[in-house]
């Protein structure tokens, strides 16, 4: 599972893509994915907000994530 990273998320991870592989229990929902990410990189827990996009739509925590989905971490937006 590849996760696209933008803005401060890219700085926190140090890459522009975060790859999750070989896990015994890979995250199956957006909520599980958020927990996984915060455990891996605690600095995500310090952000004002943390959203996940699935197939370029904002996704709520109960949404399932599948291998073929385009997944992205959306740190607090600041356009305009």
């Amino acid at each position: 599972m590849n996760i696209l990273l933008f803005g401060i998320a890219k700085d926190i991870v140090g890459e522009s893509v975060l790859t999750i592989e070989g896990e015994l229990q890979p995250p199956k929902t957006v909520g599980e994915l958020k927990n996984y990410i915060v455990q891996l990189h605690p600095k995500f827990g310090e952000l004002s907000s943390l959203a996940i996009a699935v197939n370029s739509n904002y996704a709520n925590d109960s949404m399932k994530v599948n291998d073929g989905d385009e997944i992205a971490i959306i740190p607090p937006v600041s356009g305009g």
Partner: protein, 138 residues
């Protein structure tokens, strides 16, 4: 096309009226956001914008379509930059045109407010001795 959405490396402010003018419109309202030289009393040297382009376009389309449902509009534009921008450079341009001015003013305000809330674009501020991703931390 009623809606014109773009992510660009440079905003052309001169085309706003041409994009929004319409024979049934008596009013056009445009908002342009630009790089200002100070934020919270600190001198800003530049801004750098990064976008999740595919999703940013989709979100801007949703916002523009919501505006078309809320108000009777003839045209809507939403343009946003990516890349490094200097003081006074335009970074976002949104606008609407309508028969009467209430609708275009209200819609224009809605477009920029909602863009800032939802559209996946990130702004890094360059100060003399540091850089900051805006709004990242409480």
């Amino acid at each position: 096309m009623k809606i014109d959405i773009q992510i660009v490396s440079k905003i052309d402010t001169t085309i706003a009226y041409e994009k929004l003018s319409h024979p049934e419109s008596g009013g056009v309202c445009v908002f342009i956001g630009s790089v200002r030289n100070v934020t919270q009393n600190e001198k800003v040297e530049a801004l750098d914008f990064e976008a999740y382009e595919k999703m940013a376009i989709k979100e801007m389309e949703t916002i523009a379509n919501d505006a078309l449902k809320k108000w009777k509009l003839n045209k809507v534009i939403m343009h946003h930059v990516v890349g490094k921008k200097q003081i006074e450079d335009p970074v976002v341009m949104v606008g609407a045109s309508s028969a009467h001015r209430d609708a275009c003013f209200e819609a224009c305000r809605y477009l920029i407010d909602t863009l800032k809330e939802r559209v996946p674009i990130w702004k890094k501020e360059f100060f003399e001795n540091k850089t900051v991703w805006v709004s990242s931390h409480p």
